[in-house]
Point group: C2
Chain length 236, copies 2
């Protein structure tokens, strides 16, 4: 298995990395379009079957490319998985940092502002089908064995999450480092589940009460819960 | 794929179903011991690689039995997966109901009592290595595709979770059905993550501050957060 610093690091950075995918016949024929098509196909497959349950053959079939081309771009199955995750994970992380910096420019952010700034870049991924694949993939990633998940999660989110731990301590003076880490961790668990559709709310509540496309109600619901949880008195 | 009401329903109920596993050379040689050994091996493998990523050959290798024997007991890979999940899931669900009934016998339970009654049967699974495999498997199950996960989760937890929704509404008069379902759902997301080791808290906090074996601190931390989240004023 390739490590995080393996083959992938030697490939030129793709200018298409953060471009939205163009669907159907309008998809550009160039290299960046092919690369994005591979990532889109892999994102959907990894989301459904997990890392071990997905083969490069399935990715090549769904993206209509050869396995050799996948290996050329990504070096290995793990290299592909890493790029699928980092494509959106790194963007989410950057937005979280930018949101926090904007808040700090105006003073010490409140718990509610911190939570919203953290959740917003993720919840908006629900507005596209491909973004929802990512949210399911991300929920899954956290349950993959440590050698698959941990370095990758840390690379995408380690630094930005640490900034939120510090912001929470500033908002709640006296909160210990352990409690601050726990509360950020419990927020992560809450949103991973709430944003990924795996809860199947639509089958639990009276018909018509849950609208999976209403991401604003979703972030309101999750923010209220998390702020309540974060604001309880610290453990002795 | 066999459905929930498929082949498995025709097998005789095993008297060993809820017996604790006896480890090592002391394991009984009879049929129930073999059956439990298959379930233990499958629990560990499914927890690590997910449903699609685990083969019956791997289970048979790890349990030191033939694939034919696995098929005899469980009918199919899905039948095996189902039994692995229900072996502990049904017991957790029964305990949750019993805990709630005991509380109700003394009046209307508080939010804190409700949350603790729900979490306790799960957190104690952390006291054994095999129980921790289950907790990882369960966190994973929630990210499997709906056709694999939903009927099974509903079978194990549907009825008991509904009782907790109703208990929460009794504890918080005026809470809508939608909000009550949401808060129970967010509690589930929180504990799935918090109890499954996938958060890797031990690498986030200063050394020695997190003790993965201290399940009492764990349930205190999660209960405080969830009670805070559940007790916020209802959304308009």
């Amino acid at each position: 298995m390739h490590t995080v610093s393996g083959r992938r690091g030697t490939l030129p950075a793709s200018p298409a990395k953060s471009k939205p995918k163009r669907k159907g016949p309008g998809r550009p024929e160039g290299a960046s379009g092919v690369r994005e098509a591979i990532l889109d196909a892999a994102e959907c497959l990894f989301a459904n079957a997990g890392y071990a349950g997905t083969t490069l053959r399935e990715v090549s079939d769904q993206a209509h490319v050869t396995q050799a081309l996948i290996n050329y771009y990504f070096g290995s199955k793990y290299g592909l998985f890493e790029e699928v995750f980092l494509r959106r994970g790194a963007a989410v992380s950057e937005e979280r940092v930018a949101n926090l910096e904007a808040l700090r420019a105006e003073g010490t952010p409140s718990v509610g502002e911190i939570v919203r700034a953290f959740l917003l870049p993720t919840v908006v991924l629900r507005t596209s089908e491909q973004g929802r694949h990512f949210l399911r993939l991300q929920a899954r990633l956290h349950t993959e064995p440590p050698h698959i998940s941990y370095a990758l999660r840390d690379k995408a989110y380690g630094q930005s999450t640490q900034l939120y731990v510090e912001a929470l301590q500033a908002a709640l003076p006296g909160l210990s480092a352990l409690d601050a880490h726990w509360r950020i961790t419990l927020m992560v668990g809450t949103y991973l589940y709430a944003f990924s559709d795996s809860h199947r709310m639509e089958e639990r509540v009276p018909e018509g009460q849950y609208d999976a496309d209403d991401w604003q109600s979703l972030i309101d619901q999750v923010t209220a819960f998390v702020v309540g949880g974060m604001s309880v008195p610290a453990n002795a």
